[in-house]
């Protein structure tokens, strides 16, 4: 992937020269169409004349608009916000420069809302970590026109990598929490339901803030789970009776409150929620417990826990920035806790039925098969980034990548699933690449793990194949590319009736099948094609 950077200062040290090219200083005359993506990184120049500087900054807005009009709408365009690294004012009420900066930044945010390919990055998220003296190194600035201190280059690169991860929607999925001296102060078994530190004055107040912050984190789509050595009955009583408890039973998608070792418990939680250990973060105030989990489950992130309750809020900020922040959340993220809980209810129900079909029928499942559009595109791209287990080819796509493929005539479908226990939202996608007039290739087929076990994959794929046949396609091709995580799909195409014509050394299998008749689908699904 090649990147083109628009800039008005020396910024080569920040992104290097590897597949990155730079505009001239404040030069927008060239907008190379060959670049795969663009970055707009302007800095506020040093100019003691504030009116002149404000006009200069106002011109950046117009230039940005001009550039954006010349860029293909499917290519990612990242705008860094403007930060005044050297604010200089002769009178306290001279706001010309700060208003011009605010105006540019508001405009950038507005652009990111109007255009799906534009993303806005808050540069102050980086600069606010440093004091004014360390942001600019005047010696290097005057020698190189590089406003940002070269000593911060490595820090910037680490920060930028995280920003890229946020934009690719990569985050940890689940936060596993200890209880005593982690969610509240004190030990429940010794201090009692009303004796633990929670609410009221310090230190209880610190734990209230912390719990409120964790609640908001869960509302952004991070799943919370409990792994604690307590008597479960004591904990349930505390959840029900302690009036200061912000996080209660319903906020946790899985519980392991017992005296078993925590590594085993965390492995169980991962299996119950159907997520990988490498998408979990574990918090515990006890260094011995942390060490055990680190040793036995190296895939799990185990940050150090603050030793003082008043350090919980800054710790929370670090936690979010390091593991959980993403560029934007989708509707599915927002209801995740609920979905994982209704899965547990479904499993309880399943045991009541003699055979699977009878159970599936009782779920009253609704499947909506929807062609990709501007509303579901972010979710489809997000699923390609995050889905590992039921993913036949594990190809990762950005929103812009998906748009590009649609523009090339690909068929992209997603599936929305609901049943009488709740709405799971958009949880599957299929990308079909036309090869010739009659041949079509399954480039991507994926389903979120939390809806598996109900035959939905079969119904979804067959519905799409029936649509393709109506579109005039007569031959289907597909690949299975093995990864460390998608073993459960290794024979999916075999079961569908496809013929494996070739297997590569790396285990990739190539399949074909004629699209001749209608695929029969079990009648336990209400299927709509929208």
């Amino acid at each position: 992937m090649t990147t083109f950077v628009f800039r008005n200062q020396t910024v080569e040290a920040l992104w290097g020269y590897n597949a990155v090219t730079y505009s001239g200083y404040d030069d927008i005359s060239q907008v190379p169409a060959t670049a795969d993506r663009y970055i707009w990184c302007y800095q506020v120049p040093v100019n003691p004349d504030s009116n002149q500087l404000a006009m200069e900054i106002a011109s950046y807005r117009d230039k940005l608009d001009l550039v954006l009009d010349g860029v293909e709408a499917s290519k990612p365009f990242i705008i860094l916000s403007l930060v005044n690294l050297f604010p200089l004012r002769f009178t306290g009420n001279d706001t010309a420069v700060s208003e011009a900066i605010a105006d540019f930044n508001r405009h950038a945010v507005e652009l990111s809302r109007q255009r799906p390919n534009v993303k806005w990055v808050d540069f102050s998220d980086f600069t606010s970590r440093y004091d004014a003296e360390s942001l600019i190194n005047w010696k290097y600035y005057l020698m190189s026109q590089s406003l940002l201190n070269p000593k911060l280059t490595h820090d910037f690169q680490a920060w930028w990598q995280r920003v890229e991860g946020e934009m690719a929607m990569q985050r940890k999925k689940c936060l596993v929490l200890d209880l005593d001296n982690t969610l509240w102060g004190g030990v429940l078994g010794e201090d009692g339901v009303d004796g633990i530190q929670l609410g009221g004055d310090y230190p209880g107040k610190a734990y209230s803030y912390w719990q409120s912050a964790l609640l908001q984190l869960s509302r952004s789509g991070v799943i919370l789970a409990v792994c604690s050595k307590n008597n479960e009955a004591d904990v349930i009583e505390a959840w029900e009776k302690n009036p200061h408890m912000v996080l209660k039973r319903e906020h946790f998608s899985a519980l392991r409150i017992n005296w078993q070792d925590k590594a085993t418990n965390i492995t169980d939680i991962a299996a119950e929620l159907n997520i990988g250990l490498d998408s979990m973060v574990f918090l515990d105030d006890n260094p011995a417990e942390r060490e055990l989990v680190k040793q036995l489950l190296p895939q799990v992130e185990v940050p150090d826990f603050p030793t003082k309750p008043y350090l919980l809020m800054p710790f929370f900020k670090l936690l979010v920035e390091k593991y959980f922040r993403i560029y934007s959340v989708t509707k599915e993220d927002l209801t995740k806790t609920e979905q994982y809980r209704s899965n547990a209810l479904r499993r309880a129900e399943q045991s009541r039925f003699a055979d699977l079909d009878q159970f599936l029928y009782s779920l009253d499942m609704q499947l909506d098969v929807i062609p990709a559009d501007e509303h579901n595109l972010p979710r489809i791209a997000q699923m390609t980034q995050k889905t590992n287990q039921f993913n036949l080819t594990t190809r990762r796509y950005t929103e812009a990548d998906v748009q590009q493929r649609l523009d090339q005539g690909w068929h992209v479908y997603c599936v929305r699933v609901s049943d009488r226990f709740g709405d799971s939202g958009i949880t599957g996608a299929m990308f079909l690449q036309p090869v010739s007039g009659e041949e079509v290739n399954i480039d991507t087929l994926l389903l979120s793990c939390r809806i598996l076990g109900k035959g939905i994959e079969d119904a979804f794929v067959k519905t799409v194949l029936n649509l393709l046949r109506l579109d005039g396609y007569r031959k289907l091709m597909a690949d299975y590319i093995p990864t460390a995580k998608n073993g459960q799909t290794a024979d999916f195409y075999d079961r569908l009736g496809m013929v494996c014509v070739n297997e590569d050394k790396d285990g990739t299998k190539h399949y074909v099948m004629p699209l001749s008749g209608v695929f029969e689908i079990k009648n336990c699904y209400n299927i709509r094609v929208l």
């Binding site: 590897n18 020698m143 190189s144 280059t153």
Partner: protein
């Protein structure tokens, strides 16, 4: 590690090159352009905990002059 080896290591990292020889100079080393020169100066300041004046940075045009400058600072 002696001074020369340490300088070579910093040069390899800064210039993103697998090998940098003791004959390297701004003239014969492709990646040693003006921007990388400043990055090198900044890295040397950090590694040896010294301050280099702009005039001194301008003088360090090849490997032996870099080493001589560092020796005079320590």
């Amino acid at each position: 590690m002696n001074l020369k080896d340490k300088v070579l290591e910093i040069m390899r990292k800064t210039f993103e090159m697998d090998e940098v020889s003791t004959d390297a100079s701004q003239k014969n080393c492709e990646n040693w352009d003006s921007l990388h020169h400043l990055m090198l100066a900044s890295e040397l300041e950090d590694a040896f905990d010294i301050d280099l004046e702009p005039e001194e940075i301008a003088e360090m045009t090849d490997f032996s002059k870099v080493v001589a400058m560092l020796e005079s600072k320590m």
